[in-house]
């Protein structure tokens, strides 16, 4: 899909700001997960700045679209998006992972405005998203539910229980993204526990499956639009991504899954994201 030039420029600018926040907040925290945060920065940006109905003044507005970050360790990207969207002050990003902070190491819906579900134990977010989608149907609301899964995360059996249920209940108000960055913690997904073939598996479970470049805003938004038009089935958008995207020395490096950059590394990363 061809996006209007100004929309594209706006999204690119937001994504860059979000990536810069990710680098800065992790360097400040001294721990956390840069790789999987950066790999979904474009998807999360598209959702919060183009796709989803949200009202920054009322994070709990009943009609809002819901976003569940099932791969909860990537929460720096979510916090950065919520702050940029005006749901809490950008200043607060500095408190990530510190004692008494509202910004926990993994998403905490009781502490952070705009966080829809507490996650961090991998594999549980899709079921929660299903529940929100079922409630939307019961209440005859037209909000939509978005969820992001990791390609390592889907090793969990519970993901496939939820995959079955979403198709069984025809949750066409549910759209999932699979962050296909090819890496988990102990190595590549092919080495550790091969979850491929991905589109075929989701199709076999009864989902509408789309495959995109997860760093192309036109493709992300076009896929979301197709999902909205699809009736009777949930949609899985398999997004080909690069773990660590945007920071040259982090890209495709398994070692950057769960290590924070040093001050010097953060400076280099910020220079690249200038």
């Amino acid at each position: 899909m061809e996006l209007a030039a100004e929309t594209k420029a706006m999204l690119e600018d937001k994504a860059k700001r979000i990536r810069r926040h990710i680098v800065s907040m992790l360097a400040e925290a001294g721990s956390g997960h840069p790789g999987g945060s950066l790999s979904i920065a474009d998807i999360v940006t598209a959702l919060y700045f183009q796709v989803m109905k949200v009202d920054p003044a009322r994070p709990d507005w009943e009609e809002r679209d819901r976003f569940v970050l099932s791969k909860g360790h990537a929460c720096p990207v979510l916090y950065a998006a919520l702050a940029e969207r005006g749901i809490f002050p950008v200043e607060e990003l500095k408190t990530l992972r510190k004692i008494n902070s509202r910004l926990q190491g993994h998403p905490d819906m009781k502490k952070t405005p705009g966080v829809e579900m507490s996650t961090g134990s991998l594999g549980q977010g899709l079921a929660a998203a299903n529940g929100m989608a079922l409630a939307g149907k019961l209440d005859k609301k037209d909000y939509r539910v978005y969820v992001v899964l990791g390609d390592g995360e889907i090793n969990e059996g519970m993901i496939w229980e939820a995959a079955m249920a979403a198709a069984h209940y025809g949750l066409d108000n549910l759209t999932a993204f699979l962050d296909f960055n090819g890496l988990q913690i102990d190595g590549s997904i092919r080495e550790v526990m091969n979850s491929e073939p991905l589109p075929e598996k989701w199709a076999a479970f009864g989902w509408n499956v789309l495959t995109i470049d997860g760093h192309d805003f036109g493709e992300i938004i076009a896929a979301v639009e197709k999902a909205k038009e699809t009736k009777g089935r949930p949609t899985m958008i398999v997004a080909n991504t690069v773990k660590g995207k945007g920071v040259s020395f982090m890209e495709n490096q398994v070692g950057w899954h769960g290590n924070a950059p040093s001050k010097e590394q953060a400076e280099q990363a910020l220079a690249e994201l200038a």
Binding site: H106, S118, N155
Partner: protein
């Protein structure tokens, strides 16, 4: 300066050591082998190491099958996931058939730190302790971890080993003899007894030192086996010191404090105060900040000891 080593590091080394003499030892992990340190075993014995991916329930179920076919599986991941995510597999596939599975879980308690509440197990001892036939061991240092790993491998039946993320001081010398079910007397005393496990043993010793400065002689027991618990040592401590404090990096419900209170209520009731997490989830923060905020320091043990003694 005292040497410091994380119990998870001692675990990784002890496993590899065991692998060299016992070909039946097999190891499973759930995509955390660099953190749990099973990667040390995996590097040396790739054929006997199975990375199950992020699938803890499947890992425990597979371990049960390996044990049923004669292997001695050690299965590792973080304590929250090993005991919580795979609870029914531990219950119905491991404990019910009494299979020879060793669950060695790391990153237990608040000292996980910045990852926050989703990753901090405050309930794992309680869960494992309530399972019939499960042995529960919480080693205090690297030396005891190595011996506990060896003892677990030699023992036939399910064992839960609770290990930590941070470096902790080495308490025991090379002459230490570990036995499942036996408490270790770390310091003699007649006024009050501090019963501790895991990370809190270091804090208990520091508390005893502070108390000594105030003329209070505190006995310190390292209760590394929480199940079966050393009833004899507890009853002796209750009789001889008349008041107890328990100290654990776990909910005060269902863990060491619960176990001690259960035994002494029946066998020799004395005042007991429990130092531990007061029935709440943790949060993100440095281990030091968290231990302070949640009342798990030597100073908290000192205060509890005074309260217990005042009730004598």
């Amino acid at each position: 300066m005292t040497e410091k080593i994380a119990t998870r590091d001692a675990y990784g080394k002890a496993l590899a050591e065991l692998g060299r003499t016992n070909p039946d030892i097999v190891v499973l992990d759930a995509d955390l082998s660099k953190s749990t340190k099973t990667a040390v075993f995996g590097a040396e014995f790739p054929g006997r190491f199975f990375n199950m991916g992020i699938a803890e329930a499947n890992m425990i179920g597979t371990a049960a099958g390996l044990a049923a076919a004669g292997k001695i599986p050690f299965a590792s991941t973080f304590a929250v996931f090993a005991t919580g995510r795979a609870f029914d597999q531990v219950r119905n596939s491991v404990c019910y058939p009494q299979l020879n599975v060793k669950i060695a879980a790391t990153h237990a308690g608040l000292t996980v730190g910045e990852d926050g509440a989703s990753h901090q197990s405050v309930e794992d001892i309680a869960l494992m302790r309530a399972l019939p036939g499960m042995t529960v061991i919480v080693p205090a240092d690297g030396v005891e971890t190595r011996l506990a790993v060896q003892a677990a491998a030699a023992y036939k039946g399910p064992v839960y080993l609770r290990l930590g993320r941070p470096k902790v001081p080495v308490i025991f010398g090379d002459d230490y003899r570990f036995e499942i079910g036996k408490a270790a007397l770390l310091q003699e005393g007649k006024d009050v007894t501090i019963v501790a496990c895991g990370y809190m043993v270091g804090e208990a010793l520091a508390a005893a030192e502070t108390l000594a400065g105030e003329g209070v002689e505190a006995r310190v027991l390292n209760m590394s086996t929480i199940k079966p618990i050393d009833t004899e040592a507890l009853v002796k401590a209750a009789r001889e010191t008349g008041a107890l404090v328990t100290a654990e990096e776990h909910n005060i419900i269902g863990g060491l404090g619960g176990a001690v209170a259960e035994v002494l209520a029946e066998e020799c009731p004395v005042p007991i105060y429990r130092v531990g997490i007061r029935d709440t989830f943790g949060e993100s923060g440095s281990p030091g900040d968290l231990l302070k905020k949640y009342g798990l320091t030597a100073a908290d043990i000192v205060e509890a000891a005074k309260k217990a003694m005042a009730k004598k």
